[in-house]
């Protein structure tokens, strides 16, 4: 009995140690908050276009009533967000080369700044909603800019990516999610 008790502390320490070791795995980001939206329908929101820009505004109906199998990528961006600039090129290339459908949410941005940014870099977005007060951002549960979501043909959120889609790993994650969305959309239609 006494011997058993004496083994108790080392056992507890061992178990805790195993968890600590798990916690160190490099793929784990302690700051990442899992999205509650995954496999859920897109949240309700209705955003007007960016003031003075030809591109249409964006609402959840645009994402739900989509023509079926093609997944949609929703990208939250802002002209004041530095990493967005780098990401913009990647997204533009994906739209051009892979034919993805890209929609934007322009988060807490001055319309003139957003227009200038899109003028300088080009506008790959099919639609852009202007989220001046950040309320739609809250609906989407974002924790920073940029964030990117993949929506399947049935209007469900398949994937969320926090931070800029840059580098092979991020892009391949996006591709996997897009394939998954296509498969799900195919079943739905």
């Amino acid at each position: 009995m006494k011997r058993l008790f004496a083994l108790f502390p080392i056992t507890i320490a061992g178990i805790l140690g195993a968890f600590l070791l798990w916690g160190l795995n490099p793929d784990r980001d302690p700051n990442e908050i899992p999205s509650v939206l995954i496999s859920q329908p897109v949240p309700e929101f209705d955003l007007p276009p960016v003031d003075g820009l030809d591109t249409h505004g964006l609402s959840n109906t645009d994402l739900v009533e989509n023509d079926g199998s093609a997944p949609i990528v929703v990208n939250v961006f802002a002209s004041w967000c530095v990493p967005c600039r780098a990401e913009h090129a990647v997204l533009t290339r994906m739209v051009r080369d892979e034919g993805i459908r890209l929609m934007g949410i322009n988060y807490k941005d001055k319309p003139q700044d957003a227009r200038k940014w899109l003028d300088d870099l080009g506008n790959p977005y099919e639609r852009i909603g202007s989220d001046l007060d950040g309320r739609a951002g809250i609906e989407w549960g974002i924790s920073g800019v940029p964030e990117t979501f993949v929506i399947d043909g049935a209007g469900k959120v398949v994937f969320r990516f926090v931070g800029p889609v840059l580098g092979d790993e991020a892009i391949s994650k996006m591709r996997t999610a897009l394939d998954q969305a296509r498969a799900a959309g195919g079943e739905a239609s």
Binding site: F5, I33, P34, V36, A78, G134, V162, P164
Partner: protein, 162 residues
């Protein structure tokens, strides 16, 4: 307590586009009762871009948005619980500093009681075992005629203890 760093610099993408500083005067509701509730709720909600701070004291932009949202919901007539549910629906349980009572947190909530209970049982076991042996040794000593009451180790209460 090594570094309480300015939170937002840590995350790659930052939402802070304007300086702000905990609750701002223009956020405060005219109705003191509602404001009181808003403050209480804000102190229980974790800021999603900060490292480990409630939205009430956070200076991040999104914390301000959430503070405003909480107040908006309260003005619209939501109960405290409804406001919390609204936030959880968007950000998950992560935003609650007070972990909800549900299967994944049962262990968390009962742990202190279980630890105290197990420790209590162990303590009681030590005490009773010791008491039994103590009584036995006293009996033996009495039989031997050695009066322990005169032993300096066992004076009355007010004596200084050696």
């Amino acid at each position: 307590m090594i570094r309480r760093i300015a939170i937002t610099a840590v995350t790659l993408a930052t939402l802070v586009s304007q300086p702000a500083f905990a609750v701002e005067p223009d956020e405060i509701l005219a109705d003191p009762v509602l404001e009181e509730r808003a403050r209480a709720i804000s102190k229980q909600v974790r800021c999603v871009v900060c490292q480990n701070q409630d939205i009430d004291s956070s200076n991040a932009g999104v914390a301000r948005d959430l503070r405003l949202l909480v107040r908006e919901r309260l003005v619209a007539g939501d109960s405290d619980q409804q406001v919390m549910d609204f936030l959880v629906a968007r950000y998950g349980d992560y935003v609650l500093f007070n972990p909800p009572w549900k299967p994944s947190t049962y262990i968390l909530w009962v742990a202190p009681i279980v630890i105290l209970g197990l420790g209590g049982i162990a303590t009681a076991a030590v005490l009773t075992q010791n008491a039994r042996r103590y009584r036995k040794s006293r009996k033996q000593e009495t039989e031997r005629g050695a009066s322990e009451e005169r032993n300096p180790e066992n004076h009355s209460l007010t004596e200084p203890h050696a």
